[in-house]
């Protein structure tokens, strides 16, 4: 089965509001990356976490390896936040390849 379970698959927010995206892992992961894929298809790095919480502007992400999950919080959503958000994780077996979730399609409405 999938090692990275991402939810929700789609989310619609009004400008100025916020929400959280979540990834659950079915195996122990040593790090997680979060990306935004824009309308041109480019994967934009948001965060890399090996543990704890990082914040950047209106975005905040947490990774809890012991409880096997990561979250991405968006606050005060803006139109340019629309896109597909992916989490991707590195497992603890030493492999360096990222295993991706299936993504959350985020639509920000005026």
């Amino acid at each position: 089965g999938d090692q990275v379970e991402q939810s929700p698959s789609a989310l619609s927010l009004h400008e100025g509001t916020g929400s959280a995206l979540r990834c659950n892992f079915t195996t122990t992961m040593r790090a997680v990356q979060w990306f935004q894929q824009n309308s041109r298809g480019s994967l934009i790095n948001l965060f890399y976490l090996a543990s704890g919480t990082k914040e950047n502007g209106r975005l905040k992400s947490t990774f809890n390896s012991k409880e096997s999950y990561s979250t991405l919080h968006i606050r005060d959503a803006q139109l340019e936040d629309s896109g597909t958000y992916f989490c991707a994780a590195l497992n603890t077996e030493g492999a360096d390849r990222l295993t991706f979730g299936k993504g959350t399609q985020l639509i920000i409405q005026p």
């Binding site: 040593r30 990356q33 090996a50």
Partner: protein, 115 residues
């Protein structure tokens, strides 16, 4: 910093033809990864190199797909006898070290369409 460069950005090929995709990693990065993205399968790992040496090709289809990294400034992914199911966006990424706790930076991708 130009980021990871991929060429071509789009490629249309006929069934049975060969396709070669190019990737130039970020200067100074020693690890290069290839992934592909389809609607059905999502983002999947294909293969990766560290210091030009192949490390893990567990995601590569066993036939028709090959990857090389002849020097530190570029890698190629070659698909022989392309099939319609090979249609996908092929993404290249690089990271500074390829070891633990290392951010991967992605290129814009090559959109391959096999007719």
């Amino acid at each position: 910093n130009a980021g990871v460069i991929q060429t071509p950005r789009h490629k249309v090929t006929g069934k049975g033809q060969e396709a070669t995709l190019w990737c130039e990693p970020i200067s100074g990065h020693s690890a290069v990864f290839w992934y592909r993205q389809t609607i059905v399968q999502g983002l999947e790992f294909l293969t990766y190199f560290r210091n030009q040496a192949p490390i893990d090709d567990s995601g590569m289809p066993k036939e028709r797909f090959s990857a090389q990294m002849p020097n530190q400034s570029h890698s190629t992914l070659k698909i022989q006898s392309t099939q319609p199911q090979d249609s996908a966006v092929y993404l290249c990424a690089s990271s500074l070290d390829g070891g633990a706790e290392d951010t991967q930076y992605f290129g814009p991708g090559t959109r391959l369409l096999v007719l």
